[in-house]
Amino acid sequence: MKIGILALQGAFIEHANMLQALNVDSFEIRQKKDLNQPMDGMILPGGESTTMYKLLVDLDLFDSVKEKIQQGLPVFGTCAGLLLLAKTVHNHSNPYIQTMDIIARKNAYGRQLGSFRTIGTFAGIENVPFVFIRAPYIEQVGDGVEVLAIIDDKIVAARQDNQLATAFHPELTKDLTIHRYFIEMCKKQ
């Protein structure tokens, strides 16, 4: 089992540490040639979605990444990664990868003063810590999208087939629940 982590900008090392805790190997994707390595899943980390998108395009990674997701490679996007996957980002004009049938809102909780942490239920698993940093949420999901977590009536985690997205950052906690869930997704693929 090997997971590729998009390492253009943001908190990608944190994801690698989580995978290591689960005894799963990972490697960083910084350039097109990194995508030639075989992988069982891919993580799109937190950071700035505009920065990552710009680098995906400039470094000629965009089409290959999108293609891999469309071909069924399991992918897990956190925060900025969620925005990259979303079909529509409500208050943002840039189209990103757009493979996941969700409508997301960027900076949905406002600026840094709106960042918070809480305890939630993820896919029926209780007491999972959620960390929201200038986070988005999901306003609407299409058919075939399973809602996995809700906080204050807002959808904060969802799955559509091979795509998993969370508005929060499990990689900033010590709780391995969500990474474990993603690895199970990768195993079944």
Partner: protein, 291 residues
Amino acid sequence: MKNERYELNKELAQMLKGGVIMDVTNAEQAKIAEKAGACAVMALERIPADIRAAGGVSRMSDPRLIKEIQSAVTIPVMAKVRIGHFAEAQILEALEIDYIDESEVLSPADDIYHINKHDFQVPFVCGAKNLGEALRRIDEGASMIRTKGEPGTGDVIQAVKHMRLIQSEIRNLVATREDELFNKAKELQVSYDLVKYVHENGKLPVVNFAAGGVATPADAALMMQLGAEGVFVGSGIFKSGDPAKRAAAIVKAVTNFKDPLVLAEVSENLGEAMVGINEEEIELLMRERGE
């Protein structure tokens, strides 16, 4: 609760890692920076090179300018306050700024005390030229550190010196015997807990960026290879011939800082770099402000 806020503030800095934070003086520049891939912008009235040229007292920016920049971009917006000027910081907090830079670039308001950053909900980044300064700022509540360098010069030598010094002091602390840590804390004038953290983890407890004199993609790559987790670029972008192109090139250089082929490619044909001032030509040493 207070502790939780501090954790969230450190975590925002984690999200900025591997990115470039750019100085901008108006909404239009902020949009250029965002489009070029900046992970955050620093809103200020004058970039450091112009502050140097103009002389006089340099203060926090007009809140109106900051608001205009906040509404122009979706990436985090930072702004500077004078060292020790907690009232300026209160104003920026009221504007819901994403990060406050208590900065030696502006004229210091207090020659003894830094701001008690624990009093604030919004995060602070502070400059440091050695480990003691970095840890003292963290003791005061900073949730991110950057090198001081020598801002507005386009000369990277001080940023290099500060990053190398901080990294080597960290390595020395790791190698220090445990029973000598108490004395280290005294020498550095910081709490024992922080010294112990660095000794055990081999790094600062917060994210550490490079700043002060970065002007080219190669400068940015140099700082990243020396251990910076990201880069601030002040005057280097909007004092150059083609800001959008240079900005995008520096962003790419930070992502692929270990790959000379990419660095060669992005360094090509960038137009004129900022003219810059050599270290020995400088009259005002900003790095000496706030120890």
